[in-house]
Every structure is written in structure tokens, then in C-alpha cells.
Symmetry: C2
Subunit: 391 residues, 2 copies
């Protein structure tokens, strides 16, 4: 039987420009991470690979500041970790309270509803955060078994204060799930001290790894809820019972579950190692310093930050308002064309309202801040001069 012919598009070399990714993620890989991606494959059950998995686990425990034994990386990108939290923790009929102040609350609500949960929402506009009092009021009203909060809301650029939220949840007998995809490593977070029960993140932000392996951790209380499930989770791929075994978290001999994304775990191991070498506190400080430099520079240019209160600003992703009369997209295209720098638009509520500037991991340097400010100013001036000349 004859075959159809090979597509011509594949018969030429793959070429594309090197860009500086200063959007909300991915950030650029560090050279060490890139080198790790190209290392020869090992089998997914080989002892050398199991050791790398163990080191990844220790690294995640460190960046999450947790001693949870059920700590591992999901074999997918950040949304897969969100889904793993959802589908393992929630059972049909469970009431979950989602604190929704941007795209990630919306996404978690969608996933929870698909899993049959009874989703209750407490909503605030993008750019604002929740107080423990607001959460306690909503918890009292809805009586949820699980509460969801976004630590780093990259659509609205907020850093949700979490200290005290665990106490509220424990007082009302519910579990606390936190999304830290955009914030981990870029702002203080103490999973155990703050009483967070489920925490997850992605690889392509502060860790400066390619997306595809996503850290997650569950407290003993979350494990108890999962152990008491009436039915298995719908997902086999994300079933925490199987994954706990594959990642050596249950004290049993490891059984084959699925083939892990081997190269992504090499990269994640290296990204975690780079963070461990710098030290978590120094890494938090570096991100804070770069963000402050950026914020000052933007205000010097006469621009307005989307988040009013400095203490609620996410250091890793900064939304800044697009001035009246300027087309955000034209400026972004100018910056890409002339500097090969990514400058993102808004997302969800903030679409067309803001640019979002990411300074994460390998990319969080004063030099990149200065380059971005120069490029943005030029882009805005270019658009303004076009507007004027067309009047």
C-alpha cells in the first residue's frame, strides 16, 4: 500500500530568533538548564533516574518550605498540576470556595466543576487581594471542605498575603489549596508554617526551566482526605496514589506507573539546584529588588502600575496600564521587532488594559530591567509620534 508523501515543511532546518522573554512566562532557560535538557536519556525506572527524582523532591520541599513526604513533580505543565490538585482532592458534591481575583481562580473553578464539586465563589476585581476576614466570612457562609487561593495572580499582578489564611481554614475544618505557579521562588512562601495543604507551581517561571514537569505537594491532612475517597480520581495519569508510589513517597517498592518526562526532570533538577545555590531568601530579595527598580522606572516614565498598593504587587509579573491613545499591541510589536524582547498584553479582565512585564529567575536582572524600560519608552514614543503625525 503506498504512503502519502512526507510534508515539505519538515524537510528544512528549524530556525527562529533568540528572544528575551519578559512576559508572564515562560522565562528564558539558563544555559545550565538548557545543557541539562540535552543530556542522554535514562530509563524511567533506572537507579540513576530515581536518584534524580529524589533530588527533585528534596528541591521542591526546599522551595515550598515543607516537610511533606507527598511531594513530587506532575508529568505535565502548570495546568496539569492544578488539575492534579483538583481531581485528587475533590469528590463529587464537595463544596469548594474559590477566591477569584483573576484568570487562575476562573480556571480552578472550571476544573473543580468538571470534577463534580459544588463550586462557591468569592470574587474581587483583578488587582485586589483578599483579607483573612473576607475569607473567613465566605467560609462561614458557604461551609466549604476546601478553599482555593492564588498566591501569584499573574493576570492582575497581585501577591496574595497568605499568613493567617491557614489558621482560618483550620478553624473551620477545611483544607487550603494555593496556586503558586507565578510566584514560587520570587516571593516568600512557607507551606508548612502558613498551613497550606496543597501547593503547586510550574517550571517555566522563576525556575527558568522548560514547561512540562510541575511541582506539587500535599499535607498529611490532604492525604487523609484523599485516602478517604469513595471513588478513584477520574484521572489515572494524575492519580496521587499511583504517583506517590512512583515517586517513592509511600515507602513501598516503586512500580511502573507511566513514563516520566525524563528530560524535563533533568531540567527541573538543575533549575532547583541553581535556586538552592543562590539560596531561597537571596532569590526572593533579588526578585523584589528588580521589581522595585522596574516599578520606579515605569513611574518615572509617567506610567501607572495596575496594582495600587506596593505590598500587594507580585514581584515576578507587573501589569502596567496602557496610556490613553496608545495601542498596546503596536508597542509590543515595536519592542519585539527592534529588541527581540517579549512584552505581553493583559489576560482576562486585564486584556487590552495593561502590559505585563515578567522578571523571573534567570531573567530577573537589573540589566534586563534597564533594557525593558528603554525599549518600552521607545515603543511608546514611536506610537505617540505616529498618533501626532496622523492628526
Amino acid at each position: 500500500m503506498a504512503t502519502s508523501t512526507a510534508p515539505k515543511s519538515l524537510l528544512r532546518p528549524m530556525t527562529f530568533p533568540r528572544k528575551l522573554l519578559l512576559g508572564p512566562g515562560p522565562s528564558n532557560m539558563s544555559p545550565r538548564v538548557a545543557a541539562a535538557c540535552a543530556l542522554p536519556l535514562l530509563g524511567h525506572m533506572h537507579p540513576e533516574f530515581v536518584q534524580i527524582m529524589d533530588e527533585v523532591k528534596e528541591g521542591i520541599q526546599y522551595i515550598f518550605q515543607t516537610n511533606n513526604s507527598l511531594t513530587l513533580a506532575i508529568s505535565g505543565t502548570g495546568h496539569a498540576a492544578m488539575e492534579a490538585a483538583c481531581c485528587n482532592l475533590l469528590e463529587p458534591g464537595d463544596v469548594i470556595l474559590v477566591a477569584w481575583n483573576g484568570t487562575w481562580g476562573e480556571r480552578f473553578s472550571d476544573m473543580a466543576a468538571r470534577n463534580g464539586a459544588d463550586v462557591r465563589i468569592v470574587k474581587k476585581p483583578a488587582g485586589s487581594v483578599f483579607s483573612p476576614q473576607e475569607i473567613e466570612k465566605a467560609v462561614t457562609e458557604h461551609g466549604p471542605r476546601v478553599v482555593y487561593l492564588t498566591h501569584g495572580e499573574s493576570s492582575g499582578g497581585t501577591l496574595q498575603p497568605l499568613d493567617g489564611m491557614g489558621v482560618v481554614c483550620r478553624r473551620h475544618g477545611c483544607l487550603l489549596v494555593v496556586d503558586a505557579v507565578a510566584s514560587i521562588g520570587g516571593a516568600p512562601l512557607y507551606m508548612d508554617k502558613w498551613g497550606i495543604d496543597v501547593l503547586y507551581t510550574g517550571a517555566q517561571k522563576v525556575l527558568s526551566c522548560p514547561p512540562g514537569a510541575s511541582p506539587i505537594s500535599f499535607s498529611a491532612a490532604a492525604e487523609s482526605k484523599m485516602a478517604a475517597r469513595r471513588k478513584k480520581p477520574v484521572s489515572f495519569y494524575l492519580d496521587m496514589g499511583w504517583l506517590a508510589n512512583y515517586w517513592g513517597c509511600d515507602g513501598q517498592p516503586r512500580r511502573y506507573h507511566h513514563t516520566a518526562p525524563i528530560s524535563n526532570l533533568y531540567a527541573l533538577r538543575e533549575g532547583l539546584a541553581i535556586l538552592a545555590e543562590e539560596g531561597l531568601e537571596d532569590c526572593w530579595r533579588r526578585h523584589r529588588r528588580c521589581a522595585e527598580l522596574l516599578h520606579a522606572g515605569l513611574e518615572d516614565m509617567g506610567l501607572t502600575l495596575f496594582v495600587d498598593r506596593p505590598e500587594h504587587r507580585l514581584p515576578t509579573v507587573t501589569p502596567v496600564r496602557v496610556p490613553t491613545g496608545i495601542d498596546w499591541k503596536e508597542v509590543s510589536q515595536y519592542v519585539m521587532k527592534h529588541y527581540k524582547v517579549e512584552l505581553s498584553g493583559g489576560l482576562g479582565e486585564t486584556a487590552n488594559e495593561v502590559w505585563r512585564i515578567g522578571l523571573m529567575g534567570h531573567n530577573a536582572t537589573p540589566d534586563n530591567v534597564r533594557l525593558l524600560l528603554r525599549a518600552l519608552k521607545e515603543g511608546i514614543d514611536h506610537c505617540r509620534s505616529k498618533v501626532h503625525s496622523s492628526l
Copy 2:
């Protein structure tokens, strides 16, 4: 607040040996694929990346021999593609007939049951395949909406003949799902001509890519069934409605759904390009020739192949019986220690019964066959001499 200290295990370089992976997967990456893994990241919505996604799609259409527009790569390893097939196609109460002749039928049954399907099973021992008559008899008995078959059953080493199965399924108004994780590129398969409705595979076998992005394709009939769903799939991450849009399969402007595993898609693009350059038919022939060379060599050594009939042998993964009195694991360990070659054990029914030898993609060369045969013979001789000297 003080942080816990960084784990010492991360503060030393990552080192491990280069191995020749002649198990059932992963296979070794080709140098071009490894180089692609280290390329600088692009944004997951950048035009250059969208072009790579388009090329990946064309490459998958080619290796699947399909014109289906709903053709893309799932952002996870092979099991994620299996789960995507399951959770999008099946609704609670749907009857599915699973042809189970090894581990993959078992896995698909598990996933289908989690999705609420009414799972009926037609079972044969590992090492045997199904005839169209056997499938038609079971379809007549159970009246399923969906039939599942494994093309390359890597646990039993069988290549399931598929020509004629699509006709049976269409005659009875059901859809045909085929798992080709272990076979694609290594044995003839014509998705459209054979009337397959859903086909999926992995990246780490004949494509010689790192695991983490997994090709899948749906026929128009499968799309119709999905369009008529009463409820959304439980998985948001794997929701084919969203993914069809993100992969440009629905004719609408692409919306952000999730961050794709960017480097894995670079690698997949390169793996598909290497296969396109060789040509699908030549690639099938190379795998067939290497398998025949291996089979002859094993029989020359007095060993017995697990699958009796040559036409039912999977060219990519060969199970061979462990001779009486020999410990399979000891031989595998010998071969790893002295040659750094992976020689796998059995899986499921074939555990402890066989070694499994994989010759896939970059690794499918006559030189590798000869090396494996020499190493295996030495390993067996070594174990025999130990047995004798202990008598």
C-alpha cells in the same frame, strides 16, 4: 522568618552514565533531537512557535497516514494521550469493548472505567492477537459504541493486524480506538485507509524523542461523537475542544489554553523531520530488517521467541523467553554493568518470563543488534557458569 536550608544533594553536579537503551522505551535520542531540546524557548503563542506546532501536526498526519484535521500532540507522556482518547470520547454509561492481550488493554480498561464507561473485555493471553472474526463476535455480543485495540503490545510483543477491523466497527456503528505507542514508525499503519477513529502514540519510542509530548488524531466520526457530548470531559487540561482551538484545528483564532511543553515540541518536530527524511516505508523496512536479524540471532543462541508466529511479532519490541535455571535479572544486570546496555524484563503477564529487547528509531541498527546479541550471550554464559560451579 527563617527558611530551612538547601538540600545538599542538589549542591553537586548531576552525573550519570550514557547508556544504550535497548528496552521497550525510551530509546536514545538522536543527536539532532538532543540539540533541539537545548534550543532557546519561545513563548507558547509566538508565531514562530505556532509554526512549529503546525509542522508537528503535519508530521503526525504523515506518520499516522491521515488527513484528519483534529491532529495534535498532547502535553504529557503516552499515558496522557491514552487518557485524552478516553476522557474525550467516552461518556458515563457508554459501552466500550476492550481487546485485552497485555498491559495496555488493562490500562485502557482502568481509564475507561474511571470515566464511567461500561467496560466489556475480550481477553487473550499475552503473545496472541485478535482476528476480525473474534472482534466481530464480541461486538455482536456487547454492542459497544467504542472498540479498543493495541497495535503494538509491548508487554507481549505482538503486532495486532488492523486491516479489516475498521470495516467490522463501521458495520456495527462503533468507533475504533488504537494504541500505537510502541509501533508507530516501526510497522505499517494507515489510519484513514484502515478506518481508525482515534490513534495515539508516544515520543520516546521510534521517534527517539524525550517523553512529554504525545501525538493523537481523531476522525470526523470521533469528532461528531465528542461534539454531541452531554457534559464536558472531566479534564480541562486534555479537553479536545480547547486543544483543537489551541492547535489551530477548528478554524478559529487561537486562544490561550495552557502552556505547551515547548522544548518537547521542538524535539518532536525534529524527530518527525528525521522520520520524514528517511521516509516512512524505509523506516518500517529498517525496523523489520533489524527485528529479523535479532530474531535469527536469538534463535541461533538456542533461545525461544515469546510470540510464535513471525507475522504477529512486533518489530520494535521483542520478548524472548528466559531459559530454565537462569535469573533474568542477573543477566540484565550483567549486560548493564559490562556494556551499559539496557535489557528489560517482562511486564504484567510476561514478568519474570521474558527479556524484552527494543530496537526503535535511532537505536534500530544492525550494529546495535550485534552488540546486544553478544552482550546477552555473555550474560547468559556468565550465569550458567555460576549455576554450574555452585552445583
